[in-house]
Each structure stands twice: as C-alpha cells, then as structure tokens.
C-alpha cells in the first residue's frame, strides 16, 4: 500500500446523506476478479446517462453534466466532502477501490458506515469524521469558492482551509501508523503467530467441538 502523508487538493461536495456502496460502485462491476480499474465506474449510475456494463469504453459514454464529479470546477478533486452515513450498505471493498482508482485520497463526512470506514484504511484512503456544523460550513465554503482546496495533514491530524483556518481531526493511532507507513496488516499479524497458536490450544480445551480438525495438546 502507498504511504499516505499530506494531501493538498480540490474538494468535491457530494451533498446527499446515506450514500451507499451500491451507488459508489454498482453491482455489475463486482464481477471483476481484479482489484484495479474500478475508477471509471465510480458512481456509475449518477455519472453517466446510459446503462453501464463491464468492458465498455467509458470515454465514449454520455455524461450527466449535473453530477458533481463531472463539473469542470471539481476536476482533479482528491478530497470528497460528504454527508452522514457515507458508505452504508454492502461490504464491497470495490467501493474504496473505485474511489482510490478515481483519485480520491480523503473523504470528509459527519459519519461513515463501519465496514466502509474500515475498508478505506486498507486502501490508502483517509476517512475523516467532523461534526455536522463544520461539515455544513465546508459545504458552504466549497460552493461559494471555485477552486476551493484543503490541505490534509495526517501526521499532525489537521486540515487547513484556504484562509489558514485549521480544523483538527481524530484518527485511531494504529490505523494512522499503518497509513503513514503503508503497512501490510497480514505481515503485522503474522508477527504474532505464537499468540494465535496459544489461543488455539487454550480454546481447544474449552470448546473442542470447534477444533475438530486440530490436534489439541
């Protein structure tokens, strides 16, 4: 995973609550057995006027000019500003894969669905929770100022606005560390092989019916 440090980028506002992962990446694109290439189909049903299918040349499809990511002023956005319960619904990791492939590195919202929030960190995306008032103010600022950019500094956990106002944010220390270092969770867990084996031996005595395949000492 790519290391995450600082992002300075245009902010695209997606002003609707409960954006679900079906909307982020519709089901027909989940048939892929690959991890990459989902970006062109991010928000497919909102972004294009026709019906999207896997394997299309997306550059030739009719765009919905009204959709925020198609508007010229938000081109190159790497920060997505969203509303409450962003990423609800299906656990599909294809959702962060699509966002990441599109170029989104940071999502700011008043709340996220748990599974999606967790999936973001595994893919180098930083989801930031800010209170509703702050998110409201950001929506207004983005709307009123074309080219509005934010600087997101993960090491210091601070967002800086164009007028140099700073907004602090919380992030779990373990996840922050993994994101900054681009660490592989599996590699980390496999450092604790002995703990896992010890757990299995303990549980083997307590709940032997769950370990029928193992030799309990």
């Amino acid at each position: 995973m790519e290391k995450f440090t600082m992002v300075e980028a245009i902010v695209a506002p997606l002003d609707r609550p409960n954006v679900d992962t079906d909307a982020i990446i519709p089901k027909q694109f989940l048939k892929s057995i690959k991890r990459s290439g989902f970006g062109p189909n991010l928000f497919d049903e909102w972004r294009y006027l026709d019906v999207g299918e896997p394997g299309q040349d997306n550059s030739k499809r009719p765009l919905n000019e009204d959709f925020v990511l198609n508007q010229p002023r938000y081109q190159g956005a790497r920060i997505l500003l969203a509303r409450e319960n962003f990423g609800c619904g299906s656990s599909r990791e294809h959702a962060p894969w699509a966002l990441e492939d599109f170029g989104i590195k940071v999502i700011i919202a008043p709340s996220f669905a748990d599974i999606f929030y967790n999936n973001c960190f595994k893919n180098g995306i930083l989801p930031i929770v800010l209170n509703e008032k702050t998110v409201d103010d950001l929506f207004t600022a983005v709307e009123q100022n074309p080219g509005y950019k934010l600087i997101v500094n993960l090491p210091d956990q601070v967002i800086t606005t164009p007028d140099a106002t700073t907004i602090n944010f919380d992030v779990d220390s373990f996840r922050k560390h993994s994101l900054l270092q681009g660490l592989d969770d599996i590699g980390l867990t496999l450092q604790h092989v002995n703990d896992i084996r010890a757990y299995e031996q303990r549980s083997c005595k307590l709940t032997p019916w769950l370990f029928k395949d193992m030799q309990c000492k």
């Binding site: 319960n85 990791e93 669905a113 779990d172 969770d185 599996i186 896992i196 549980s203 709940t207």
Partner: protein
C-alpha cells in the same frame, strides 16, 4: 463490578492479544466464502506466497452470480461464469470445502451456514458480505468484512479490530397476527435510523424476540447492518440449542453435553450495562412497507407516503424529495394504492422454509394479479427448495402463476439475470431499497413474505387479513 453483555462475553473469549490502545487481534472460528468478494483475496495470498492458516474453518458456495433457472445450461454471462469458476479453482487450490453450483446443498451463504450447523453459538463468524450479521441469531459474533480482511482471515484466522459499543433493542409484548420478524426489524430501523447502530453491536432482547423462531431471529439479525450495526445478536435459549442439534457440522454426540452447557451461558448478565437502550412495544408494530430509497424510509401498511414538507431537517427533507422522485410516488398517497409490477420472494433475509410456508399460505387458492408481469420465489438453498417441494409448496406457487426458481441471491442485488427494468416497481422480501439495487431505475419496496404474497394477488399492497375476506 457490572456484569457482562453477551457481546462482551463473545469478544472476551476470542481475544488473541490486545495492544494498549485497544487494538485487538480476535480469533475467527468460521469463515464463509462466496465468489464476489474473495477472488482478489486469494490472488493476494498467491502474490505474497502465503498459505491458509486453517482450511477447515472455511466453507464456500457461489450465490451472487448463479442463475436461478436452467442451471444445467451453466452461466450464460461470461464475466459471471469466470467469477464462479475462479471460486471453484481457488477452493481446490487452497483445500476449502465448497458447495458448488451443482451441489444439492448450494445456496445463499447466510442460509447454508446455519442449515449445515457451520454456524454455532459462541462462534465468531465472518464473510465478505455485510449480511453476515444474520448468524448473530445463534449468539455468534458475526460480521461482514471487506476483501482485505477476507485475505487477512484466510492467512491468519484473525482480524484486527477495536471493540464496538453495546446497544440493546428490547421488543416486549406479543406481535399481532400477520406481523413478522421482517416487520419488527423494519420498525426498529425506522425508529433508530440507518446509522442508529453505527459503532455498536446490537443485542435484540425482550419477550417478542424470544417468541420468534430461529429463522425469524435470522431475519432480524440479517438487517442489523441496515440499522448501521456490523453485528446483531440474540441470546441462546432452548430453541437455539434445539435448532443446531444434529446438523452436519454440529458437535459430535460426545461433545454435546459440554457444548450445550457452554452455550447456555451465552446471554447478557442481568446486571450488564449497555451504552444505549431502545424500547419498542410489539403491539405497536404493524406490517411494514418501505416507500423510499433507504431502509429507514418505512411506514406501516395502513399509512400514507410521507410528506417531505413536514420534515424540519433540510438534509433529510432533500433526501425524502430525491427518494420520492426516484420512486415515482406522491406524498400523501395511500400505501395500499401503490400498484406493483414484480414480486420477489427470496434473499438472505427471507428465503428460508418458514418464509416460503408463510407466503404459500397466503397464495394458496389464489392467482397472481394480471397486472403483475413477474412473480418469483427463489428458495435460499437447495435443501430449502427440496423441503418446500416435499411439502407441495412449489405447486401452490406455480398454480398461482409464480415462477419457482433455483437458489441464489437473485433479484436482491441483480448480479445474475434476475432484475428490474427501468421504472419497474417491486414488492421484495430483500433487505435494501437503494437506488438501482435491483436493476438500474428499478423501484424496490421492502416487505415481509406475507405482504409480498398478498401484493402478488391483489396487484397492489394490501393487508393480508383483508385479502382473506
């Protein structure tokens, strides 16, 4: 010291190690695998040269992409076919038991887990699918995970997590006739909202919950995720133990006394405290129908489509206006005036034998309304289908004009050929009414199997009690 909640007990008994900041490695007893969210995980293992930690802890079946008709012809869509074949190959390569497309035990992963006894009380159960919360009906800590976590579990049999908060939703009293577990969970979601359970594990408690069958409890926990909670739970009682006894993956006779004694402890202590509590009266719950594009947009069958102008929160009001627009509905319209095009009885929420029996009881002796272009029943597994056929329920549906299909996820998410066309309106026993969920432009109303069956006959939503008269 205060007692422990059921979630506390399940969590504590699966801690492998814990860091000072609360980051915890928890052990996973059962991993269910399907074709959509696993190929990239197996590929990741190959690229890193990693093997499976414990092959026997995994159980796989294809469900999302499988055709529900003419299965002997195979999968027509080449992209779907490759995904299902990839699962077959991965299971062979990594030594995982798979109920393949032609296996009589194949079905929706959340139906076959409990059916096989592969889901047992006290387990941790995960799957790359958000509706894994279903298995919490057995007092198993069960949750959906992403594909990176699927790979993590395959390689280590563990997950890195932080503990969630405890929420208890208590439903006391007696449910009225025709009110099902589906209505209970929809009423709960309507009350607490789709983000109401975010960051929490919900324990469902109270006399109305204890009165539900195991299949009803599965329906309830299935949609905990629609209330924002990654996991839902119901405490063990004698019904739980009775259900799991004697299934293929259940404990051997020799372990049974020890297992049952252990399982009986899987309930919250009387003095346990919860971070939040929600109360509902069973008598207040009427048959529910969703009207919008989020599972919290629900009213009862006797109500009208709500008016966004009555909503004070501007973000919510805008959401309601968008939803009504997408759904092609007018505020104030009676729910029973909503005319339908298609009926779908199936999905991991409502495709078990009791669901099919309940729908058949309504359908028996009636015909599907002429205005309904398609009505289908998709059993949750090959074994559910077989059981229903032994009871003659297939004939009841077919005689009425329903299609009787092979098991799979089908039109719940329309990854196979079963889907809604632009503008079509469906009474569906599934779990999500999101825009485009059942097909681009399709309009989904979430209901119980009883209401879906009644709607098939009337052509519009109707209180089943009125249909009988």
């Amino acid at each position: 010291m205060a007692g422990k909640t059921l979630y506390d007990k399940l969590w504590d008994s699966h801690v492998v190690r814990q860091e000072e900041d609360g980051t915890t490695l928890i052990y996973i007893d059962r991993h269910l695998v399907h074709e959509v969210t696993s190929p990239q995980a197996f590929e990741g293992l190959r690229l890193a040269g990693r093997s499976l930690w414990r092959p026997a802890a995994n159980l796989a079946t294809p469900d999302h992409n499988v055709p529900t008709t003419e299965r002997e012809k195979g999968i027509v869509d080449p992209v779907s076919r490759i995904q299902v074949e990839t699962l077959d190959h991965n299971c062979v390569d990594f030594g995982i038991t798979e109920f393949g497309m032609d296996d009589p035990r194949q079905g929706i992963v959340h139906v076959i887990g409990p059916e096989q006894g592969a889901t047992l009380p006290g387990m941790t159960v995960v799957c790359g699918d958000s509706h894994t919360s279903t298995h919490g009906a057995f007092a198993a800590l069960a949750m959906g995970i992403g594909t990176s976590e699927v790979e993590h579990v395959l390689a280590t049999q563990c997950l890195i997590q932080k503990k969630a908060k405890n929420m208890r939703v208590t439903v006391d009293g007696a449910l009225s006739a025709g009110v099902t577990a589906k209505d209970v969970i929809l009423a709960i979601i309507e009350k607490i909202g789709t983000a109401g359970g975010t960051g929490h594990t919900i324990e469902f408690a109270g006399s109305a919950i204890r009165g539900l069958t195991m299949e009803g409890r599965m329906t309830l926990c299935n949609m905990a995720i629609e209330a924002g909670a990654r996991a839902g739970l119901v405490a063990v009682d004698e019904q739980t133990i009775e259900y799991v006894r004697g299934r293929p993956y259940s404990p051997a006779e020799s372990h049974l006394p020890q297992a049952e004694a252990y399982w009986r402890g899987l309930k919250s202590d009387a003095d346990a405290s919860f971070d939040s509590e929600v109360l509902l009266r069973a008598e207040d719950i009427r048959p529910q129908v969703s009207w919008g594009t989020s599972p919290e947009m629900v009213v009862s069958i006797d109500d009208a489509v709500p008016d966004p102008q009555q909503e004070s929160d501007p973000v919510k009001r805008e959401g309601m206006i968008n939803a009504l627009n997408y759904m092609g509905l007018e505020a104030g319209m009676a729910i029973t005036d909503i005319q339908l095009d298609k009926i779908f009885i199936g999905s991991c929420t409502n495709s078990r034998i009791e669901d099919i029996r309940a729908a058949a009881a309504i359908v028996r002796g009636h015909k599907v309304a002429g205005t309904i272009s398609q009505a289908m029943v998709v059993p949750g597994s090959g074994l559910v289908k077989k059981q229903a056929e032994e009871e003659g329920l297939d004939t009841v549906f077919i005689d009425a004009g329903f299609e009787w299909r092979d098991p799979g996820c089908s039109m719940c998410l329309a990854m196979n050929a079963d889907r809604l066309e632009e503008g079509e309106r469906c009474a569906s026993t599934s779990n999500r009414n999101f825009e485009g969920r059942q097909g681009r432009g399709g309009r989904t109303h979430l209901v119980s199997p009883v209401l879906a069956a009644a709607a098939a006959i009337a052509g519009h939503f109707i209180d089943p009690n009125r249909l009988e008269n």
